[in-house]
């Protein structure tokens, strides 16, 4: 009986994995699809394998630039959001009452930030930038991405902090470490898994954001916004190649962190 149930569980798992992976596999597969005639654009009719789109990766005007912009944007907004989000999580967990009067309001705002529809956030950000006469471009994109990522980092780090033994920090101070040293040597290493998870989430959120970016990008087009614009004229096959690259980078990161944590577990 249990063996039978085990087999069904296995089949179910593979079906689910397949369901999740089919679009990605399709994308990788069709990134090798040749185009026979006319203006190169993606199609789902198999015309034979080619490496042409990998060779001509940078030949489409605007596409490599938008890809590179997205990467820079993701890195910069991740750094900002991780720093602010981590400190915010520390403040929310550690201080209340007189030391942190607006604690409840900040907490509510974070929740609203996550719950609010992206289109509302995009529209309101656009309205704000317009009324302050801030030209749309990299700066507005960076500010917007950092803003919607902060809440996610904070929530992740806060979960990690909840089980934190405060005596560890007291012990550090007791042994002669000043508060900043304690943060560097004890607090930060202890919450690092949470910080890294938050950072990865911020990176992914920024890289594939379309709605907010579409409002605040102006003529500086991040990758998703560029692709959306291209659909009107026909999407060049190189988009699949860039998609494949992003997927491989993500997969490498995931495997890397898995190996690291395995090794960490073995050591301890």
């Amino acid at each position: 009986m249990s063996r039978k149930r085990g087999r069904w569980l296995g089949i179910y798992s593979y079906l689910l994995l397949g369901y999740l992976l089919v679009p990605i596999i399709g994308m990788v597969f069709f990134s090798f699809n040749d185009v026979l005639a006319g203006r190169p654009q993606i199609s789902f009719q198999w015309n034979g394998a080619t490496l042409r789109w990998y060779r001509e990766l940078t030949q489409v005007v605007g596409l490599p630039q938008s890809f590179w912009l997205s990467i820079r944007l993701a890195v910069a907004s991740t750094i900002i959001a991780t720093m602010i989000g981590t400190l915010l999580a520390l403040a929310l967990v550690r201080y209340e009452g007189k030391k942190f009067k607006g604690r409840r309001i900040v907490d509510q705002t974070l929740f609203m930030n996550i719950a609010a529809p992206e289109i509302v956030m995009g529209a309101s950000l656009l309205g704000m930038f317009a009324s302050y006469h801030i030209a749309r471009g990299f700066t507005t994109l960076l500010l917007s991405h950092a803003v919607f990522s902060i809440a996610y980092v904070t929530v992740t780090v806060r979960a990690r902090l909840q089980g934190f033994d405060r005596h560890l920090e007291e012990a550090s101070g007791d042994l002669g470490a000043k508060p900043l040293t304690t943060f560097r040597l004890v607090t930060l290493p202890m919450i690092m898994p949470g910080v890294l998870a938050g950072a990865m989430m911020a990176f992914a959120l920024s890289l594939d954001d379309f709605v907010v970016s579409n409002f605040v990008s102006g003529t500086t087009l991040p990758f998703p916004v560029w692709v959306y614009g291209a659909t009107r004229m026909g999407v060049p096959p190189q988009v699949f190649v860039f998609g494949t690259i992003i997927f491989l980078l993500g997969a490498a990161g995931a495997i890397g962190s898995l190996v690291m944590s395995r090794r960490g577990m073995k050591r301890s």
């Binding site: 560890l168 007791d174 042994l175 002669g176 301890s268």
Partner: protein, 377 residues
């Protein structure tokens, strides 16, 4: 041990700590002698841990002053105090090896890695953990972790070592071993230990002096023997060991103090065993093992106090017999007789005579509150 020199190393003056409306520590003054093993003993919530945390600098006193030697350290943060702490949860850094945990304090003082390594190895052998330096704390047993916590604190050679119920996570057998171990280490390093515990036996076994705390105040202070034999308050009498107590009134007079109880006539207690300033309602007491149990009608020595009663419960415990004896007006006396060949072993229901020497009788001020919070263990 250099207790006999009685050099004051730490002095607390009128320490008060309030949390909201609660006075966790209520006007505590105390002198800790250089090199002594001092225990803060009391039930949970008596303010002993708060007192320790104020000494460590983790809690800001509401009022009062702390001196290390002649230096006022009241406002110094933990990292500027010459004190180290063994926490109840040990608080070992889980991401650092045992050796790095122990070296943490030395490295903060700017001692080089190599020099620290030498000191760490010394400490590891002091606490019997040679060769375990490369392990992570969670690879060690509870008892080993506790010794790492001790080594991590001791390696800094602090003026004062604070220990916050460090044995509470250990099982009874290991606790016994660790008590002796701790006492050995303390006499070896000669550092002043302040040990917080709710376990009276633990406090008795290890301490040079015991401070009994209740409701934020010090109720008794002295060597384990003095505190046990001459309890200063009703709380001390019942929390530290067991006591049989009868309510009474103090009679004026010279020589031995006389206490008239409401129902059993007059008992006497030596004047030198009576706390100063007793007035009015008092309680007269005796420890269970000081009472002799005899058949009713036996002759009473004139130097003894006596009482008749009926045995309610008679229990054989191996090392002795324990009786619960009901006095005529209902008070229950616990009597403990050593199993050393006594012939008279009354059964329950039997009428008996209880006698005890005047010199083992003590008097304490009756406290308004009928029973102390927390069970004596």
């Amino acid at each position: 041990m250099s207790v006999s020199q009685l050099v004051t190393s730490v002095r607390l003056e009128h320490m008060v700590k309030t949390f909201g409306d609660v006075r966790a520590v209520d006007d505590v003054s105390l002198e800790i002698h250089d090199g002594e093993f001092l225990s803060l003993l009391g039930p949970s919530g008596c303010g002993k841990t708060t007192t320790l945390r104020m000494l460590g600098g983790f809690e800001e006193p509401t009022s009062g002053t702390i001196y290390f030697g002649d230096v006022n350290v009241t406002d110094l943060p933990p990292y500027r105090r010459d004190v180290n702490t063994v926490f109840q949860s040990y608080a070992l850094f889980p991401h650092l090896s045992v050796a790095d945990n122990i070296a943490f304090g030395l490295r903060r003082k700017g001692i080089s890695k190599a020099a620290a390594r030498l000191r760490v190895d010394e400490m590891l052998s002091l606490v019997d953990l040679e060769g375990r330096g490369d392990r992570k704390p969670n690879q060690l047993s509870g008892g080993q972790q506790q010794r790492v916590a001790l080594a991590r604190a001791l390696v800094n050679q602090p003026k004062l070592l604070l220990l916050d119920e460090p044995m509470s996570a250990l099982d009874a057998k290991l606790r016994k071993t660790m008590q002796l171990e701790l006492k050995r280490i303390q006499s070896q390093v000669g550092i002043t230990f302040l040990y917080v515990t709710h376990d009276q036996e633990e406090a008795m076994t290890m301490s040079d002096r015991i401070v009994v705390m209740n409701r934020g105040r010090i109720e008794g202070l002295g060597s384990p023997r003095d505190v046990y034999e001459q309890p200063t308050t009703e709380f001390v009498a019942t929390f530290l060991g067991a006591s049989n107590l009868l309510a009474g009134t103090l009679e004026p007079g010279s020589g031995d103090i006389a206490i008239t109880t409401h129902a059993y006539g007059t008992f006497r207690s030596p004047a030198e065993r009576t706390p100063q300033g007793l007035t009015g309602a008092v309680k007269v007491g005796v420890r269970p093992e000081k009472i002799q149990i005899q058949p009713q009608g036996a002759t009473v020595n004139s130097a003894d106090n006596s009482l008749t009663g009926r045995v309610l419960v008679s229990t054989f415990t191996g090392v002795g017999n324990q009786y619960v004896v009901a006095a005529p007006h209902g008070e229950e006396f616990v009597v403990y007789a050593q199993n050393s060949g006594q012939t008279y072993v009354p059964r329950s229901g039997e009428e008996v005579l209880l006698t005890w020497p005047v010199e083992h009788t003590f008097v304490v001020q009756a406290s308004g509150d009928p029973s102390p919070e927390g069970e004596p263990s």
